[in-house]
Symmetry: C2
Subunit: 449 residues, 2 copies
């Protein structure tokens, strides 16, 4: 299927290049909006400028909903303000809100003045992108509980709601407060003369508009919801979040965790502009370099020892490096456990004891291996003992750091534990690894030379 | 809300402890199944054994669907085979299949013989857990296209389908092949005498039962689906996947990527048994230790140089470590880009050029910083130059490795690029970092002492 699609893409590109715009639009029209969005995103600027004005407005609106963020901004910029308002009237509310945010206040104001759905979109604009309010749509069906099933069905036949805003009907009171929810399935199997208030589910899962998007996504996932009503501080129903947005959020948050653990600012992609990438990656590398210089400073304190027993320089990075890796493994497990709500601060002692025991096992294992190698290379039993002891102690340091650093970031400093856990863990195990190993070696120097 | 829940949890625990089982069951019954599952999972074995038999079967079936994998297995083990069959008859098909897989062939056979829904569950058992077939349910509504809207509504009123199997009705031909889909919304707004085949959507997004679960999840996400029909090799409709399973898969796959990048086997949790954790983490750490020993072996070749210029031992880990970090950043971006289908092998040259340029920028920056520090510490300009050159070259190595290693794992060796990218990247930058730096220093030794 992917090859077929690639063929179709190049066919459409060729048609545009040959100025057969209407043929290209006809071919495009046969595709799913997600695929149309792919074609549009991959066209070069000239072809896109030729094609866009020829696409029927409802099709273009659907395709825009599926465009990746980056291409969307550049495509929207090309559309004249006069054309943008009627187009956005047909785009999903939460996407329209994102677009208006990106346009800048002045142009957004101009567009909004021309939009027919400004009444629905304006109230959504005040919500931060990272909250439940920032992902909701105003296109949902709000009904009075006194309505009968029959009247409701007649109403639905008349308004013909869009497919994805119509899994559930929301029952509100005179002040717009959420009273209950009726699924289309309930509506179909209920007697025609029943009132909505008789068949509705009253114990509705709902969230506040200022709830963080990650918490909201976890809520949807926990209760297996398909649509989630959003209420304001006065319990008034202000919007609905659909599960497709939640899927995107879950993936976005997971990617954020991955990138943060590697010390990369969020929202970088493999094909991001180079200066963007540099801006996101350099800060952490610079911090890391500073950390490296601190540990190097410790090593320089022991220059005398090293110049006498140069093999220490060969063993030293293994002890520090092994500690760093073990610590990052532990921290990754703890960070992910916190993110998925598998553990919280109440599990601290349990997790710490487990990781310390695991650290001791690792220390015995790696310490023994290192002792054998050190003995083989130097023929010195004391050196073997010093190396093994340093490895063992640094594995305990790694376990302590791997658990305590993310926990402190989360519960002590109230920041995302993924952010800097890696830096602090490496710093700790590098500095302690060098210090313990070279310190012990200096104490035992007489027996090493 | 979380505190309220915690209070309720302890209340129920206390009731069970006081042998007031029926009161405990009554309190439990007021909770959402997801919350019931939490309570059940957190009870100790004795309390659980007292409570489980008292929970009404339909409630227990719902709660089981929400239990985390680990607690589910141990709870299922406690339930006698005679009780298990009628219970599983009420559990969602895809969960039942997971449970039967875990029971072992013999007991699964016994249970299956007693199950009323064996006809629906048995065909699902042949599918791997990691494919679309492994996540589908047999509980969906299959209708003939000749049926009128009115007849369909009458049918739905009679069978009262469960809420989550009834967003869509599937129209099949005499051989069970998927012809089209009708949403409840379409059914409600259509004239009562229309045939399903007149109002159904014919161009249905569907997948094959052997499609990999990650690909399937991406498909659902791409097309914003709420339910996805699954067909066999003969295009016969064999099941339906609901979006709540897809949410779990997206999160599971992201967690897998995170853990693999840190060199941890999949499916470890912060509270996994210690031997499980050891088994998952030690292999990679041992590989890493072997790599460390290889690089140490390189260092020992330069013992003579180091014993003359001990400050080399202090600067050496910075060059190797900075290379490792830069390389892992690049690899993380590439691995995530491949996982999210943002890049493929066709983007290799573009990504490589970008990363090499970025590597040169990093090399110039970090090389200069290191040169200043080396000059300050040693007062030796040649040492500063050697350190800067080695840092610059190792940053280019880091860029090359960060792009080429995941790409080779994915397209050359056809394995998951997250698996071992970190090990190989650190190995490359450690070995090359030590070799370049100490090699240059040895060549320049006369001017360093």
């Amino acid at each position: 299927m992917e090859e077929e699609q690639a063929d179709l893409f190049s066919e459409i590109r060729d048609l545009v290049a040959a100025s057969r715009t209407s043929d290209a639009v006809a071919r495009l029209g046969g595709l799913h909006p997600a695929d149309q969005a792919d074609v549009i995103a991959e066209l070069d600027d000239a072809a896109r400028s030729a094609l866009l004005p020829a696409i029927p407005r409802p099709d273009l609106a659907r395709a825009i909903e599926y465009l990746p963020d980056q291409s969307r901004s550049s495509i929207i910029e090309e559309i004249p303000t006069a054309d943008l308002a009627p187009l956005l009237d047909e785009v999903d509310d939460d996407i329209t809100v994102d677009i208006l945010h990106e346009l800048g206040e002045e142009r957004a104001g101009e567009v909004l003045r021309e939009m027919k759905r400004a009444w629905a979109v304006s109230p959504l604009l005040g919500h931060s992108d990272e909250t439940a309010g920032g992902h909701m749509t105003g296109a949902f069906i709000r009904l009075n509980g006194n309505w009968t099933v029959e009247r409701t069905i007649t109403y639905l036949r008349r308004v013909r709601p869009e497919a994805d805003s119509a899994y559930y009907l929301y029952v509100v009171d005179g002040q717009g407060r959420l009273e209950g929810v009726v699924s289309l399935r309930d509506l179909i199997i209920a007697p025609p003369d029943a009132a909505l208030s008789d068949i509705m589910l009253r114990d509705v899962r709902k969230v506040r508009d200022d709830m963080d998007q990650e918490e909201m996504a976890r809520f949807v996932q926990r209760y297996d919801l398909v649509a989630l009503p959003v209420v304001d501080a006065n319990d008034r129903l202000v919007g609905v979040i659909t599960v497709d947005d939640v899927l995107d959020i879950v993936e976005e948050e997971a990617t954020e965790d991955i990138l943060k653990l590697a010390g990369i600012g969020v929202k970088e992609h493999a094909l991001s502009p180079i200066m963007d990438s540099a801006r996101r990656r350099l800060p952490w590398l610079l911090v890391n370099m500073a950390v490296g210089l601190c540990s190097a400073l410790i090593v320089t304190r022991f220059e005398n020892t090293i110049s006498k027993v140069a093999v220490l320089a060969a063993l030293m990075p293994i002890i520090a490096g092994q500690g760093g890796n073990a610590s990052i493994q532990t921290a990754t497990i703890v960070v992910r456990g916190l993110a998925l709500d598998e553990i919280d601060v109440g599990d601290l002692v349990r997790v710490l004891l487990k990781e310390l025991m695991l650290g001791a096992v690792k220390g015995l294992l790696f310490g023994s291996v290192l002792a054998v190698v050190a003995l083989a290379w130097s023929g010195n039993g004391t050196l073997a003992g010093v190396a093994a002891a340093a490895m063992f102690l640094n594995m305990l340091v790694a376990s302590l750091g791997g658990v305590l650093i993310p926990m402190t970031l989360r519960y002590g400093l109230k920041v995302d534990p993924a952010t800097a856990a890696g830096v602090f863990d490496t710093m700790l195990t590098d500095i302690m690894g060098f210090f313990i190993f070279l310190g012990l070696a200096t104490i035992m120097l007489d027996r090493l030379t």
